[in-house]
Symmetry: C2
Subunit: 408 residues, 2 copies
């Protein structure tokens, strides 16, 4: 099925090369298609590694291995297979991953443990070892490629290539961060797994890089949803080559730590939002700001419950300022809330205040706001100081068409 | 919007009159429509009452009051308003409910506390007191009506009237149970714009009736979902007039307790399933049987996670035996599971066993099964002895059309 580019798509940004990072692609032909589908990124010695992974209890071998590899804190290479997720394939799937790790590590002379592997695509079919071997061999000797080439090679049902670039000053040294991501929802193991990779020339201690990535994740990838479904393979990895040449960032007391953390957070937020912008069938990008919760975590859970509510998502698709459905979603979130303290605004205009419809509510500016592509929904719970922002998209006929008709 | 009758609709059953129960309907004209929309059921003295209600933190005044009324254990009347849910209307909504309780109690000479009120429909608009007063006055003196008339009068976006009849032998006495229910969307475990009423001539102590209803609820209304959304008004009430004339059922040791409990469970299951059969846009009725969980509760949560997964529901709409999406849903349920112990079957044919696709899997009978209207999905977790069955429907273009275009 050929999908049209999402109406919410952003152009691929200008992204500099990162010192110590060498990306290449090849054609493993995991599916019957005419495109690059294997991505190889070689990393110079001394590259720090951090990662966050799906919470799924049925994770793929790649994720199981990745969770272990991150503990060592260093990486020399990344392989991404597109077209076959290798999930739910038991020992046969694991063997295919180990073969790739061995092949790459022998080529560059490192430990297999330093070779990270991700796969995305069809579930339940072991990654074909012969195609993987040939694809990897071709990638190892391929020409260097652009970030956009790599972003396209890791994609599956994405309708546009996704990347982001941020930078930070660490003392007098400017460091660059480049990221690519694929996924058109936090969804199917078979089609829209989210795989994100961030590369920087900053010099960051692995344990601190892990802390920063986990923290950024909690305000970015953990705050987006398309349909509430969770892949068995979702992965975000960060690689820091240290080639920028500044004094290593060991922790919050190190010079530049704040600046780097901010750039990493910004990167994660941009990448996360770009996935929502490719949500299957999405026609509107929705920002949900929850305040007045008993804690930030509670606010995030309320926000995600609203964001995952089919009735809220279809109301926005229908450009209907249906705050009753928002009340419903708040009520079912299982978080502390009080009907008579709840306030709701679309596009900055309060429809309901303290549990009652606003008396002289003017729907005209709200209706105008809902006609746009960028929708803002604010929910004030009136219970405390907790706040969070989550992002989602609307639920349209396009989602049904893609998911009821597409055979993975 | 005029909706077509659900393809999964069942004919309205033959239902006997229940001794001590007197149902009537009237036109309060809560909306601009030409139909009965106010239902009044008068109950003879000594009628026992039990009830289960939405878990929503933003429940309506009717639900807040009902939770208190159930504690007294007796009822003399029920009023159901259709077309206005009176939810999220603050003190003004509460005043309207109290007016109805006063009006009815003065007419029949009982305590206002013995008058139960439910409302369903538009949210955020206080129930108009004048329409309620006139509607109630008309209903108090109306002719007796049929169960089907009552089932139609409590309906809102339902596409067919829903009722059920069961019976049981208590000693030598046959007791009858009749139930009516409304609801079609926003149906989730903790119920929805779902209003259900069960009437019996059995003689049951209120506290035991409450235990039985709560228990039946956990295997019926708590096991259905259409879209995972939860209404602010969901209510199921049971009324036992005691007119059948047998010795009162006080507890499990009373003669006939088992038989009555079984008939009540069967009633709740039939009513719950009828709501799923009217799920918005539903084209297939899906039974999900989860076994091998660490507990029955865990099995139910896994089942509901599968049942609420948009990717599973769209796959079934597309008649695609996509067990990969079932794996994904099990993985995200947050319950103990192990990828390598998981088995999945559609229509009794195992697609995956112990974490691997079945070797000589024959998809033909599965494809045939998925073309039908009644879909069976079995999931064996291999973790323990816990089991549960949940019911849902598929997710189709019809759901989007109804909810993106309908202003509730």
């Amino acid at each position: 099925m050929e999908l049209e580019t999402s109406p919410l798509a952003l152009p691929f940004p200008d992204m500099p090369q990162i010192s110590g990072v060498h990306q290449r692609v090849s054609r493993a032909r995991y599916k019957d298609w005419d495109r690059a589908d294997l991505t190889y990124v070689e990393l110079d010695e001394g590259t720090a590694l951090a990662g966050v992974f799906t919470q799924s209890a049925c994770a793929s071998s790649e994720v199981e291995l990745g969770r272990e590899q991150v503990k060592s804190g260093t990486a020399r290479a990344l392989i991404v297979n597109a077209g076959n997720s290798n999930a739910f394939t038991g020992y046969r799937g694991r063997e295919a991953v180990e073969q790739i790790m061995d092949q790459v590590s022998q080529h560059i002379g490192c430990s297999p443990r330093e070779v990270l592997v991700s796969s995305t695509g069809v579930i339940g079919v072991p990654l074909p070892k012969d195609k993987a071997r040939e694809g990897v061999a071709a990638a190892l000797t391929a020409e260097h490629c652009s970030w956009q080439d790599a972003a396209e090679a890791i994609a599956t049902t994405d309708t546009f290539a996704k990347g982001a670039h941020t930078s930070a000053m660490v003392g007098d040294t400017r460091v660059e961060l480049c990221g690519i991501i694929k996924g058109s929802g936090m969804i199917a193991p078979d089609m829209a797994t989210m795989l994100g990779y961030i590369f920087t020339d900053a010099d960051v201690a692995p344990a601190f890089l892990q802390d920063l990535l986990a923290s950024a994740n909690s305000q970015s990838f953990s705050c987006i949803t398309v349909d509430g479904d969770t892949s068995t393979s979702d992965t975000v990895l960060a690689f820091a080559t240290g080639k920028a040449g500044h004094a290593r960032i060991e922790g919050w007391d190190s010079p530049g730590a704040d600046a780097f953390a901010a750039a990493l957070s910004d990167m994660c937020r941009q990448l996360a939002q770009s996935v929502v912008r490719d949500g299957e069938g999405a026609s509107k990008f929705i920002t949900i700001r929850v305040s007045g919760a008993v804690s930030d975590d509670s606010a995030r859970r309320v926000g995600l419950t609203i964001a995952n509510s089919p009735l809220v998502k279809t109301a926005i698709a229908g450009e209907d300022a249906n705050w009753g459905r928002v009340v419903m979603a708040v009520g079912k979130a299982g978080e502390p809330a009080d009907r008579d303290k709840l306030s709701i605004a679309f596009g900055g205009v309060w429809s309901a205040r303290d549990g009652l419809p606003v008396d002289d509510y003017d729907e005209a500016p709200v209706a105008e706001h809902l006609k746009g592509q960028e929708i803002d929904l604010a929910v004030e719970l009136g219970m405390g100081e907790g706040r969070a922002t989550v992002w989602t998209c609307d639920l349209t006929h396009g989602y049904i068409s893609i998911n009821a008709d597409y055979r993975s």
